[in-house]
Structures are given as C-alpha cells and as structure tokens.
C-alpha cells in the first residue's frame, strides 16, 4: 500500500469490523478480517484492541468453545458513537480526496 493509515483510521476499521456482528468476534478473526482490507502484520491488533478496551469503545466476554474459553470483543454504545463520528469524518475526507484525484482539467471536460 502506498498510503499510510494513521492510528485513528485503524481504530475506525477495527470498530467497523467488530460492529458487523451483534454477538461480537474474537482476536484472530478480527485480524484476518482487517487483513482482508488493509495490509497489517499479525502482531498489530493486540495494542489497538487494548486501547479500544481502555477507552471503553469495546468490551469483552468469554465464551466456552470446544472446551476452552474464547474471548469475544463486542462494540459498546460509546464505541458506536465513536464509529459514527469516524464514518462522518471519513465521508468528508475521502470525498474531497477522490474529487481532487479524479478531477479532469478544463480541456478534457
């Protein structure tokens, strides 16, 4: 990828991925889903998830799967508000960037 993704955009992507399922999702799945969109290393998300938990945008609960506990991450109300804010900002930002990049000059119009 040529363009760098900042911490805020990474937060937004993770929140969006987690919010797609009501019952939440787990660390490995989140990482693979995010990797489907942008290139990140497998070790990237633990600090990000920790930060989002600390900011109470996410919450965790354990669910027994195949005789062991799997830690699920679920979006909180605060997280949803944050995600909506990110969505609005992104729409404006990406719209402007797209416009300037796709703009044709006068002769081509």
């Amino acid at each position: 990828m040529v363009f760098n993704t900042g911490a805020a955009l990474l937060d937004a992507i993770v929140l969006a991925v987690v919010s797609r399922t009501v019952k939440g999702t787990y660390g490995y799945k989140i990482t693979q889903d995010v990797r489907g969109v942008i290139e990140i290393s497998e070790s990237t998300l633990y600090p990000v998830l920790r930060r989002l938990l600390k900011e109470e945008c996410l919450e965790v609960y354990d669910l027994a799967i195949d005789g062991r506990n799997r830690r699920y991450y679920r979006i909180t109300e605060k997280g949803r508000i944050q995600l909506n804010l990110y969505r609005g900002e992104w729409a404006v930002y990406s719209g402007r960037i797209s416009r300037i990049l796709e703009e044709l000059n006068d002769e081509q119009k």
């Binding site: 990828m1 040529v2 363009f3 760098n4 993704t5 900042g6 911490a7 955009l9 990474l10 787990y26 660390g27 490995y28 799945k29 990482t31 942008i38 290139e39 990140i40 290393s41 497998e42 070790s43 990237t44 633990y46 600090p47 990000v48 998830l49 920790r50 930060r51 062991r68 799997r70 830690r71």
Partner: protein
C-alpha cells in the same frame, strides 16, 4: 520453534510486568495461535519473535505506543519494533539487501554455525574506530606504561640520541678526512719544492688520509643509503601494524 515454545518464551519475557496485563496478553496470543490452527507457523513468522511481541506489549503498557506506530505499505509498523534485539547489529551492518530476511529469522537460527560466524563479522572494527580504541587503551593503561613505558621511552630516546650522534659524526668525519687528506697532499706537493723528502712524506700521509676518507665515505654511503631507510621503514611498518592489525602472509 513451535507454538508452546513461543508462548513459554513470551511468558518468560513478560515475567516482570503486572500480573493482570501479563495474563491478558498471554491469553490473547495463546488464543490467537490456537485459532490460527495450521496457520500458526505463518502467524509466528509474522510475529517476528517472542522478543518483538514482548517489546510491543511493554511499550503499550508504558503508554508510548500512541505516537510511535504508523501504517505503511507493509502494514501497521513501528520502527522501534522491527528488530528489538538486532538493532545494534543492523546499524553496524555494511552489506545491504538479502540481509533483512536473514535477520528477521535470526532468532530462530542464531546458534547455528553459519549465522554466528556472520554475526561476528558484523562487529569487525573499522580503521578509525581502532585508532580511537587504541587511544582509549593508552589512557586506561596509563599507570602501567608510565612506569614501564617511561623506562622504555628513556631507552628509546637514548637510542635515538646515539643514532643522531652517529649520523652527524660520520658525515663530519668523512668530510674532515677527505678535506684534510687533500690539504696534506697540496702542502706536500708545495713542500717538495724545498725539501723533497719531507714533502714526499707529507704527500704520502695526505694520500693515506684520503684513502681513509674514501673508506669513511663508503661507510656513510652504506649507512645513509641503506641503514637509515631500513630503520625508517621498519619503524613505519611497526606503527602501521599496530594500527591496521597484522597483515596476512607476513
């Protein structure tokens, strides 16, 4: 390194962080590798090393992850976590390219022959660095060489003085003998006009002195032409060997 070895190493590396944070991190990464299933080798390769993961966890706890990391074309990357244990080696590294991949896996292969030999080569000291190290050594060992070295320096200075004396003496002697011989010859020839016998004696002595002068001249030619250059070369050689290390085949 399999999954369990990786986790054991990580657990060991995190022994000194708060219990709760440690349990949390261990649980996350253990889960992660278990979920990865057959892909866990790939995941661990991507993790880099237990040391790298431990460094990331620690840094997040210390609260300085916020402004360190950034997304690049290689994913979320933080310069500080590239190779926590190989940074020093990387800086001293000379050849670029092809090295990166090897270093990334260095934690897995480090004790094996080929790699450890390469590791040693990385720390080969450069010329200027060697000079600096020598200067430091000189300062540190001052008490020793002030005693022993003082005596040696005295001997050296004495030898140098002797040499200088010899150089001057030989030149003066040669010059004086030749000049004196020539003078005696001239006086002898002039004297022959009045008293043939004493003039002849004088002339003979003059020739003998010129002979001695020529002998001395030969000695000086050898001394200045051969011995002094040899001495200088030997001295320069000794100094350069001290600085650049012993040359092979010498």
């Amino acid at each position: 390194m399999n999954r369990n070895e990786f986790m054991e190493k990580l657990e060991y590396l995190l022994s000194d962080i708060p219990q709760e944070d440690k349990a949390d991190a261990i649980a996350y990464y253990r889960d992660y590798l278990e979920e990865a299933g057959d892909d866990d080798k790939k995941a661990m390769e991507d993790f880099g090393s237990p040391e790298r993961i431990a460094a990331i966890i620690r840094s997040e706890l210390a609260g300085n992850l916020e402004d360190g990391g950034a997304f690049t074309e290689r994913g979320y990357e933080d310069e500080r976590f590239r190779e926590p244990n190989y940074q020093v080696a990387k800086r001293l590294d000379l050849p670029e390219g092809g090295q990166g991949q090897q270093e990334e896996n260095a934690w897995q292969q480090a004790p094996k022959g080929e790699d450890s030999r390469q590791g040693r080569q990385k720390f080969k000291t450069s010329g200027p660095l060697k000079i600096v190290l020598w200067i430091i050594l000189l300062f540190v060992s001052a008490p020793v060489w002030l005693g022993v070295g003082g005596t040696l320096a005295g001997l050296f200075a004495g030898g140098l003085g002797l040499l200088l004396g010899l150089i001057i003496l030989l030149a003066v002697l040669t010059f004086a003998l030749l000049l004196g011989g020539a003078g005696l010859c001239v006086v002898g020839i002039l004297g022959m006009v009045r008293w043939v016998s004493s003039g002849l004696l004088m002339f003979g002595a003059g020739v003998a002195v010129i002979g001695l002068g020529l002998l001395s001249l030969m000695a000086s030619i050898f001394f200045y032409g051969r011995f002094i250059p040899w001495l200088i070369r030997a001295g320069v050689d000794a100094v350069s060997r001290l600085v650049h290390g012993r040359r092979k085949g010498r």
